[in-house]
Chain length 400, copies 2
């Protein structure tokens, strides 16, 4: 929906909306059974709700486009992902509550293992968060500034860190050095425009510095992605008149929610912690975004069975959410992550909306192949927010 | 379809197209039976045609958008409803054959009942058309002019009237005074831009004048909506090379058809009158728009059973239309009006197209939930006209 149209018809009321995002939920069939992860999982709650809710397949960015988590979440939140770019670095920095300044260029880092000039492990064996903290402490002490640019290094989680380059000349327009596959040499960070040459030089010097400082470590190489500056988005309050809260255990999603102006609630690692957080705060917000990470993580690992297990946990959680009686519940994903592909994919996302005013689609269950028979058909993920608002009676009639 | 593309491929031939619009046709299930109004109705003709026609769910303005009758009809007729705005006042004025002048600002009025400062009945008990005519006669005599602006008051139907403010300074940009709910005070008409201050003053003085003149009546307060001037749209003849006729018993729809350049045929109140009009004029036009109002009226009243009955009448009418052998018949709605919601809604419209060249969708019947399985899926209502033209072989090949 165009912003101008939304502005014309948006209104407030006392209804409650819960958007459950099971990251990377959609999958592809296992060769043995012909069933996807979601079709394999035992999901009595979702199947029951698929009878009385309206369903569809949401397309995050476009047909055939495999989105990263940034664009796919922007679409879910109703921001055009091709018009609003949020670099991974910014997401990661926001996710650890780092207050980015206008002159900051942030990049997401992986501690990786380089051997004989090749990246042999892109995650340095998924080192622990504590190990990451030890490495960041060393680097922070050894690399404080490069050619007048202040260097700030922060642990995110496991092998992930953020580096912030603080300096007036640090602009966007850098390529990444992650070869995306193991057994390949790291790429060279290139300046994509004239103005970013200085920034590229600083990045090269930073990478060289890290390899010098960490040369005796297993985690001896920084893979840098998503060099970016902070964008400005209208908040959920401004755009939708919604007091919105985010419940996410994983930093990047907290970061994205914060960029959309959501209040990020303190929560734990487990789905049950997230549910507890929802219960405790249920009265204080109009809109809740609940993010479940593990569906995606196991998809990325190619672990079909573990992904099935997490989906079953999601199913129980949705049953619990239903008991809190929000006016609208939606269950969907930001993008698909089929275990078969061990990564994000372009496949559209199963989407289910439950509300008193939803057309009951009478689907035989909640799955990729049932959802395509639903009322909404295949539709852009950017239309999810308008649908949630409509079903909570928050959109006035357009025109006479 | 873009106008430029249409212009490139449009052609004429001798085929006939009939578009049946059952206003507010789509609904939501009854709590007792789980069936919608359309699913409940006995519709042997539509069900039979749903086997051999192509179906879909048409989205009038956008996902989640509840359209008024103006925008939803513009979409049906192939005009972008967010780019072409037609105020309710203009629709109502056109519907009573009032010839709007460039300096006219028209508003739709409801005779309402004000008691102790609150609107206790927004329709003054749905007064009769005769009673409305009596009140308009009194007002026309008592309020002829305000500060140089000529005031013209005309009965529409039941509690509805039109007021035309004729004066050079009467421009668009006024808010409405209808609180939309009973038990609330009327709103204050505000000027939405600097240029409309004078117009707002005239409106205030008019409202005050009416309350003075009608203070002894049950219908003692004018609710004014949709202050607007006449827009200019390319006609059906210009846009589609179609000699188009409108058959509608309710004024507003005649008005809208006239704005699209259709010839408005004289007809009666009943569906059978409309059929008679179609039969009599069948040879003289290429395109017929037939509007059935009562499906919407009963939906707005929350009268599920009465809406079901009207749908059954529509079904018989479609059977009769089929016998006239037009090349293309389409049956759909402008928007949904579920009895459950007692008003327009955002739910997409069941759409059925019958033509020798339509893919037979073999649906088990004509309903919201069957149509979603049809060839067209969920699709924008603005694509209906291109589909009608294509199935009547009026669109040439694009490109070599």
């Amino acid at each position: 929906m165009e912003d101008a149209l939304l502005k014309e018809i948006i209104s407030k009321n006392g209804t409650k909306i819960v958007l459950v995002v099971a990251d990377g939920l959609g999958g592809l069939p296992s060769a043995e059974t012909g069933l996807t992860e979601l079709e394999t999982a035992c999901t009595p709650n979702l199947d029951r709700l698929a009878k009385r809710g309206s369903a569809g397949l949401s397309v995050p960015v476009g047909y055939g486009v495999t989105p990263g988590s940034g664009p796919s979440h922007l679409a879910l939140f109703g921001y055009d992902p091709t018009q609003n770019r949020i670099g991974r670095g910014v997401l990661e920095a926001s996710g650890i509550d780092f207050d980015l300044q206008p002159e900051d260029l942030a990049a997401r880092g992986n501690f990786a293992t380089l051997k004989d000039g090749l990246i042999v492990d892109r995650r340095a064996g998924r080192i622990s968060t504590e190990e990451n903290q030890r490495l960041c402490a060393i680097l922070s002490k050894e690399i404080k500034e490069i050619d007048g640019v202040k260097i700030i290094i922060r642990t995110v989680k496991e092998h992930r860190f953020v580096v912030i380059f603080r300096g007036k000349e640090m602009v966007e327009g850098l390529s990444e050095n992650d070869p995306e596959k193991e057994g390949l040499a790291p790429l060279r960070i290139e300046s994509l425009r004239n103005e970013s040459r200085f920034a590229a030089d600083i990045a090269h010097k930073f990478i060289y510095g890290v390899t010098e400082v960490l040369k005796a470590e297993k985690a001896n190489y920084p893979l840098l992605r998503g060099f970016a500056k902070k964008p400005s988005l209208p908040s959920f309050d401004q755009k939708y008149f919604l007091r919105a809260a985010a419940i996410a255990s994983y930093p990047m999603y907290r970061g994205l929610a914060r960029l959309a102006g959501m209040e990020v609630l303190l929560t734990g690692e487990k789905i049950s912690d997230e549910l507890e957080t929802l219960k405790k705060n249920f009265q204080d917000f109009d809109f809740f975004y609940i993010h479940i990470k593990k569906t995606d993580s196991y998809g990325e690992d190619g672990n079909f069975a573990a992904k099935v297990k997490v989906i079953e946990e999601v199913d129980s959680a949705v049953g619990e959410i239903e008991k809190m009686q929000p006016d609208v519940i939606a269950v969907t994903a930001d993008h698909s992550t089929p275990a078969l592909l061990r990564g994000h994919s372009w496949h559209p996302n199963p989407f289910l909306l439950i509300s008193r005013y939803a057309m009951p689609d009478n689907l035989s269950g909640f799955s990729e192949r049932e959802c395509r028979k639903g009322s909404f058909g295949a539709f852009p993920a950017t239309e999810i927010m308008p649908l949630l608002l409509a079903h909570s009676l928050r959109l006035r009639k357009f025109g006479a």
